[in-house]
Symmetry: C2
Subunit: 338 residues, 2 copies
C-alpha cells in the first residue's frame, strides 16, 4: 500500500533537503568532527557504541536546523557548532534509550546498539552523550540556549513516559497522541531551531518564530513517519512495514481507523493492539482497515496542517536562501510519503 | 564476619553525621520541598517512580555537602538549594539507571523501581530527573556550577561503562578499580562539594579544597560500602551480605584476596566471579579467603588513606562549625563498618 501525495499546483519538482545541506555543508563538517571528538573516550566501548549509531546514516536534520537558524541571523562565532553537536548527541542518547525501552532489534536497517553491546551499554553510553552535550552547551556560555535545551531534555523524557502510559490503550485520543509526539519528537526540533537565533543574539520574535517552525516541522515529521510505518518500503525506512503494529504502538493512522470503524472493527483493533495479536494476517487486516478509513491520507493531511503552521511561523522573516531552504524542508518532510 | 575498627586515640565517641544534619536542617527542608515539586509531572508515573526512590530513606549526604559547602562561605541566596536538589536528582537518576544495568531487585531493602514499574520507566524517569536537574542548574545562573555538574554527569556515565568493561575480569588491578569508583561515585561527591564555594562566589583555592575533600570522601565512602558488602548485616544495609559476590562485581576486598592468594585461591575466584559460580558454599569460601588475606581490614585501611587526604584538603580553611561537621563526616563514613 502506498499513498500518492499530489504535488502543490505550480510545483514542478519534488522538494529536497539539498538546499539546506548545501548551506550548512562547511559547518556540518565541523559538527561531524566535533561529534567524533566528543564521542571519544579512553573507555573503548563508548566510541564503539556511539559511532555505531552516529555513523548509521541518519540525515542529521536536527543539527542542520540549528546551523541554518544561526547562519540566517548572521552568526559568525563557533557556538552554533557546539549547540548543533549537542542537539545531535541529545537525539542519539534518546535513540539509545528508546531502543532499550522499546526492545528494538533494528534501527535504520542495522542491528541496534543494544543487540550488539547489550542494554547496559546503551543506557550508559546514552547518559555519557547527554553529559557531553551539556558540557558543550556550557562552553558556549549561553544561559538561554542551556535553558531551552535542558527544558527540551526533561520534556522529551516526560513524553516518553507518557507514551508508556498510553501504550496499548485503544482509547487514546488524537489529542493524547499529539501530546506524546509534541514532547518526544517536536520538542527537540523546536529547541534545535530556537537556539540558532539565541546564539546569534537575536530578539524574542526571531526566537519564537524559529521555535514555532521547529515544533510544527517536528509534528509533521513524526506524523509522516507514523504513516510510513504502514505504507513505506522496508528498504527506504530501515525498518519493516508494520513494525509499529507489531509493537502495539498507537499512532495516528490506527487512532483514526479505530475511531471511524464499526464495533467489529474496534474489536479487531483491541485484539490486535491491546492483546498483542499481531500476526501477519492481522497486519493485513489492519492495513485494509487503515485503507478503508483513509487512515494514511488523513494522517498526511494532518501533517500538512502542521507544515502550514511551520511555514507561517517563518513567513515574517526577510527573504533569504536560509529561509527558502528551511521552507523547502517542510515539503521534503511531507513528500517523503511517495 | 565483622570488622572491628579501632577508634583513633583520644576519641571517646563514635563519629556522627548529626552535626552536618543539624547545620543543614532548614535548608534540607527546602531541598526536600523542591525535590517533591520538581519530581512532579502531569504524567502520573513520573512522581510515582521518583518518589519511590526519593522517599526510600537514603541519607541525602550529597545535597547536604552542597548546602554545608555553600553555607561555610557565607552564601545567603537560594542557588545552593537548587544545586543541592540537582545533585540529588543526578544521584537518583544514576540509581535508576544502575538498577536497570545491574538487574537489581532490591535497593535499601525495598524493591527497585524497575521491579515495580519496569526497566522502561526506570530509564525514562532517570532521564526526566536529569533534565530537571539541568533546568534547575540553569536557574541558578552559575556557568561554573553548570560546568562542574555537567562534567560530573559525563564522567559518572563513563565510569559506569568502564565498570561494565572490567566486569567479571579477575585481572582488574586496584588502579583499574580506583578509576571506576573515582568516576562512578567520587566524581559526584566532588562536584557536590565544589559547587558550594562556586555559588558563594568563592575563589579557586576554596573550590579546589572542597573538590578534593569531596573526591576523597567519595572514594572512602565507596571503599567502605564495598567492605560492608562482605561484612555488614543485611538489615543495616538494605541488602544482603554477598550481593556484590553474587553479581560477580569486582571490588577491592576481592581484588586484594585474589592477588594475595595461592594459585588454587586464584582458580577459585576465577570460577566464582568469572564463571558466575556464586553458590552459598562459594560465598562462604570467598568470605574465608577475604578473612585469610585481610581483604576487609586492608580495604578499610585504604579508605582511611583517602579520608586522611580529604581531611588535609579542608585543613587550611578557617575553623568553623561547618568545617568541623564536614571533618566528622569523614570519620562517620569510615566508622560505619562496625
Amino acid at each position: 500500500m502506498g499513498v500518492v501525495i499530489p504535488l502543490e499546483e505550480g510545483k514542478n519538482k519534488q522538494a529536497s533537503v539539498k538546499p539546506l545541506v548545501d548551506l550548512t555543508r562547511l559547518d556540518m563538517d565541523r559538527v561531524n568532527q566535533l561529534i567524533l571528538s566528543k564521542a571519544g573516550s579512553d573507555v573503548q566501548m563508548i566510541p564503539e557504541v556511539a559511532n555505531h549509531l552516529i555513523s548509521s546514516g541518519g540525515k542529521r536534520l536536527r543539527p542542520m536546523l540549528t546551523l541554518a537558524a544561526a547562519q540566517m541571523f548572521g552568526y559568525e562565532g563557533d557556538g552554533h557548532i557546539k549547540l548543533a553537536t549537542s542537539v545531535e548527541f541529545m537525539h542519539t542518547a534518546t535513540l539509545l534509550h528508546d531502543d532499550v525501552v522499546d526492545e528494538s532489534d533494528l534501527r535504520r536497517g542495522k542491528s541496534t546498539a543494544r543487540m550488539i553491546w547489550g542494554n547496559q551499554a546503551s543506557v550508559l553510553v546514552g547518559d555519557f552523550l547527554l553529559g557531553q552535550a551539556f558540557k558543550m552547551m556550557v562552553e558556549t556560555g549561553s544561559m538561554d540556549a542551556l535553558d531551552v535545551l535542558a527544558s527540551a531534555a526533561a520534556v522529551i523524557a516526560e513524553g516518553e513516559v507518557l507514551q508508556l502510559s498510553v501504550a496499548k490503550n485503544m482509547e487514546t485520543t488524537e489529542d493524547d497522541y499529539l501530546s506524546v509526539i509534541r514532547a518526544k519528537t517536536a520538542a527537540l526540533f523546536a529547541a534545535a531551531a530556537e537556539v540558532g537565533p539565541i546564539i546569534a543574539g537575536n530578539d524574542k520574535s526571531a526566537r519564537s518564530a524559529l521555535r514555532s517552525y521547529g515544533m510544527n516541522l517536528g509534528l509533521a515529521f513524526q506524523l509522516v513517519d507514523d504513516a510510513l510505518d504502514y505504507g513505506g518500503k522496508a528498504a527506504d525506512l530501515g525498518k519493516n512495514v508494520g513494525d509499529d503494529f507489531r509493537e502495539g504502538k498507537i499512532t495516528l493512522p490506527v487512532i483514526l481507523s479505530y475511531r471511524r470503524g464499526t464495533p467489529e472493527d474496534r474489536a479487531f483493533w483491541k485484539t490486535a493492539i491491546e492483546d498483542g495479536q499481531s500476526s501477519d494476517e492481522n497486519l493485513q487486516q489492519a492495513l485494509a482497515l487503515i485503507g478503508k478509513y483513509n487512515g494514511l491520507a488523513d494522517t498526511i493531511a494532518r501533517a500538512k496542517h502542521y507544515g502550514a503552521i511551520a511555514r507561517d511561523a517563518l513567513s515574517p522573516l526577510p527573504a533569504s536562501a536560509h529561509k527558502a531552504a528551511l521552507m523547502e524542508v517542510i515539503d521534503f518532510c511531507i513528500e517523503r510519503v511517495n
